[in-house]
């Protein structure tokens, strides 16, 4: 009897603690998300004062929209390039800092993590200055080593614009993931490395045979982070660095396209259709990346 009562009390306590959070979550996350789906079936302006139900018309338009396809392709580019390069760099620096016996280790950790403290807007502005066609440090820098900067500026040429935006995103992200990987590496018992050293295993081999398999779970989790953040961050960087969507639409991403449709082009229903697509896409992508990287967890 007593235990039943304390059980009930416990449940009630948990409910009291969680209900406010659940209510807030439902109000500001779930309801708007359902609303996005609902609004994608309407034709309406950004003020939504007048709605007209159009069924799946917006989705049909979306399929035939060449600009949307291009934006989607650019998004894939950012997801793949930013993820691949960031993961390699972050793992490399993490392993380097972990394995080396440098005295300045904490200093480097702070320096690498620093971009994360800055707001994305600050970083984008910083890179705009770096890429400035007339007084930017990059143009001046490459001139010293005898290379000519692109004639129309780094962000103005179709060949360089996407990579320049990606570089800013990578610079921002590396430190954060590096710290996560270092934390993962901290969990690996030292004796494994000692044995490997005794057996004469090289540092690189140690990384691939000990470090990476033992922290695979963390790498998997960060992959989902990468996908979500590459989609989200690209909006801020693209919007600030190439407001028109870059040369020939080369940097336009789905979210900037959605923003343009919603607020500049006053086509809110269609923008919500794009929103539905973004939702499904990131959801599916996260599932896929989870399934693909699934392997047995190595225990120690």
């Amino acid at each position: 009897m007593k235990s039943g009562r304390s059980q009930r009390e416990k449940r009630r306590f948990i409910a009291v603690c969680t209900i406010p959070t659940v209510v807030i979550y439902i109000l500001i996350m779930v309801v708007p998300t359902i609303n996005v789906f609902y609004m994608s079936f309407f034709k309406m302006s950004s003020l939504s004062l007048e709605k007209k139900f159009v069924g799946f018309d917006n989705f049909k338009t979306l399929i035939g929209d060449g600009k949307f396809r291009q934006a989607f392709a650019n998004n894939i580019f950012f997801i793949v390039s930013v993820t691949a390069i960031t993961i390699v760099l972050a793992l490399f620096f993490a392993a380097l800092l972990k394995q080396s016996k440098l005295k300045e280790k904490p200093f480097y950790q702070t320096v690498f993590f620093f971009p994360n403290v800055l707001s994305l807007v600050v970083i984008a502005t910083l890179f705009i200055q770096i890429y400035d066609p007339t007084k930017g440090i990059l143009s001046a820098g490459v001139k010293i080593i005898g290379i000519n900067a692109p004639m129309q500026g780094w962000l103005g040429e179709a060949t360089s614009a996407r990579w320049c935006v990606a570089a800013a995103m990578i610079w921002q992200a590396v430190g954060y993931y590096m710290v996560m990987y270092i934390a993962g590496m901290d969990g690996i018992p030292k004796d494994l490395y000692e044995v490997a050293d005794l057996e004469g295993m090289s540092g690189i081999k140690q990384f691939f045979y000990i470090t990476l398999p033992l922290m695979w779970e963390i790498v998997r989790v960060t992959l989902v982070f990468f996908i979500i953040s590459a989609i989200n961050m690209s909006f801020v960087f693209v919007r600030l660095m190439t407001p028109t969507g870059g040369p020939n639409g080369k940097t336009e991403v789905i979210l900037t396209y959605m923003y343009k449709q919603a607020f500049t082009n006053s086509n809110f229903g269609y923008a919500m259709t794009v929103g539905v697509f973004v939702f499904m896409f990131s959801f599916v992508l996260a599932l896929i990346s989870n399934a693909v990287t699934k392997r047995d967890i190595v225990q120690y």
Binding site: S46, P133, P243, T244, N248
Partner: protein, 458 residues
């Protein structure tokens, strides 16, 4: 049992606290939305008292700041007993007022032109959410205005001649150049496009490029060149056809000639290097340094760049758009900036009074002096000559040099994914990069135009 009540009480307290928290949020945003501390200065507290009226005015804060609006608000309040005017000014005013409009609580007066990227005016027109302003613009009032301003699609959008937004400012835009540089080097201001390119090649010998514009953030500045050039090449009818999506308008000779100008600038390498990565401010900085001869811009340029270092002796010069053949009518682009009242405005009558007040002589003088802008009223430039800077006056007096001001804008349509402005103006960057030619460009815009012609707003 007692402990049960105790817990129930605690639960109610927690929930009440949560509700208060959320309620608190709503209250704060209400306050932020409606008023502005600078203009109300405590008067707001007795706004609910009898006879007290509050007029909420949302204005776009451009290069001139908000002071002039605060002064106007004060003057208006002095004339009307018991009226408080709250000015909300912001460079991103569209984002500020959008949620207010959506929640059915819009400002009483909005000054935000149709060319603003927020698209607020277009949305209000599409949703039929503007108040008709015909009582302000009776026959007597209309007669004072420059011909044609009431035909603009944003002013009378539904084709029935009824006015839904008031043309508050009117300005003439064209090509700016440095008078001192032209004098020093012995350049003449080109009257035809041939002379324009001749000058470009000559200047390139002196290490100066011909042209630059706000490619990275707003290539639409080129409307200053494109619209009048079409009007001068094919007559106003050609331009009108373009605006109204008449079939074949965008593949007409006049349009192709104009697009050809851009292709030629690209092919002959007359565009300032780096332009494609420059925002409007960056390109204007380069222009002030004599890196480029011409920049398409408006009369705010001088004030916007007043703190920017420039070439020695720099003096703003202003000219209209060159013509293709001698004897063609030279044209220049004139733009209107609209002020309007949402139909859900709480103080609609007072809002109308406020707009009328802005057209009074004193207000015109004040706006001319502090914002460098004039309403499209005949003779306004002469009346305010004493307070206008030379450069600004020159833009208004351009018609005296024989340039015909043309104005207009794309006819409005239902919501669509097609953005003809983007395809027209952003494509300039592609032309400059050599990735698009006149043929492809005109075809792209014509396709948009055909799609839009089917969904014109009625």
């Amino acid at each position: 049992m007692r402990s049960y009540f105790k817990k129930l009480f605690a639960l109610i307290c927690v929930l009440a606290f949560g509700v208060m928290l959320l309620g608190g949020c709503a209250k704060v945003s209400d306050k932020e939305a409606g008023t502005d501390p600078a203009a109300t200065s405590g008067k707001n507290t007795n706004a609910g008292a009898e006879g007290q009226k509050e007029l909420n005015v949302a204005v776009f804060e451009g290069g001139y700041g908000r002071e002039v609006w605060d002064t106007l608000a004060k003057k208006f309040a002095e004339k009307h007993d018991g009226v408080t005017v709250n000015i909300t000014a912001n460079p991103k005013i569209g984002d500020v007022i959008r949620p207010q409009i959506m929640s059915g609580n819009p400002p009483d007066v909005i000054f935000l032109s149709a060319t603003n990227e927020s698209g607020i005016l277009q949305s209000l027109i599409q949703d039929k959410a503007l108040l008709c302003l015909d009582d302000i613009f009776d026959a007597d009032m209309k007669a004072k205005f420059v011909k044609g301003v009431f035909d603009a699609p944003t002013v009378s959008p539904y084709g029935d001649g009824k006015i839904y937004s008031a043309p508050l400012f009117y300005s003439t835009m064209g090509l700016f150049y440095n008078k001192t540089l032209f004098k020093e080097k012995g350049y003449d201001v080109p009257k035809t496009w041939d002379e324009f390119f001749e000058l470009g090649n000559k200047a390139q010998g002196d290490g100066i490029d011909l042209f630059t514009y706000a490619a990275a953030n707003d290539p639409a500045y080129n409307e200053i060149v494109i619209w009048p050039a079409i009007a001068s090449a094919g007559g106003y009818e050609a331009l009108d056809n373009c605006f109204n999506y008449v079939s074949g308008a965008w593949t007409s000779d006049a349009v192709k000639k104009v697009m050809g100008v851009y292709e030629k600038i690209a092919k002959e390498g007359l565009l300032l290097d780096g332009t494609l990565a420059m925002t409007h401010t960056q390109s204007q900085e380069q222009f002030l340094q004599n890196k480029a001869l011409f920049i398409p811009n408006g009369n705010w340029l001088e004030n916007e760049m007043k703190d920017t270092p420039r070439a020695e002796g720099f003096e703003f010069g202003f000219t209209g758009i060159p013509v293709f053949n001698e004897g063609d009518d030279p044209c220049v682009w004139s733009n209107i900036e609209e002020i309007y009242i949402p139909s859900k405005a709480k103080e609609a009558d007072l809002a109308k009074e406020f707009i009328k007040f802005l057209y009074e002589d004193d207000s015109i003088l004040l706006l001319a002096e502090n914002a460098g802008s004039l309403p499209p009223i005949v003779g306004a430039a002469e009346k305010t000559r004493s307070v206008l800077s030379d450069c600004v006056y020159e833009t208004y007096a351009i018609s005296e040099k024989g340039f015909v001001p043309v104005t207009g804008g794309f006819a409005l349509t239902e919501q669509t994914e097609v953005s003809i402005r983007d395809d027209l103006f952003n494509s300039i960057n592609n032309v400059m990069a050599g990735e698009l030619d006149t043929e492809g460009w005109s075809k792209l815009v014509e396709e948009d135009s055909q799609k839009l012609s089917e969904i014109l707003l009625k």
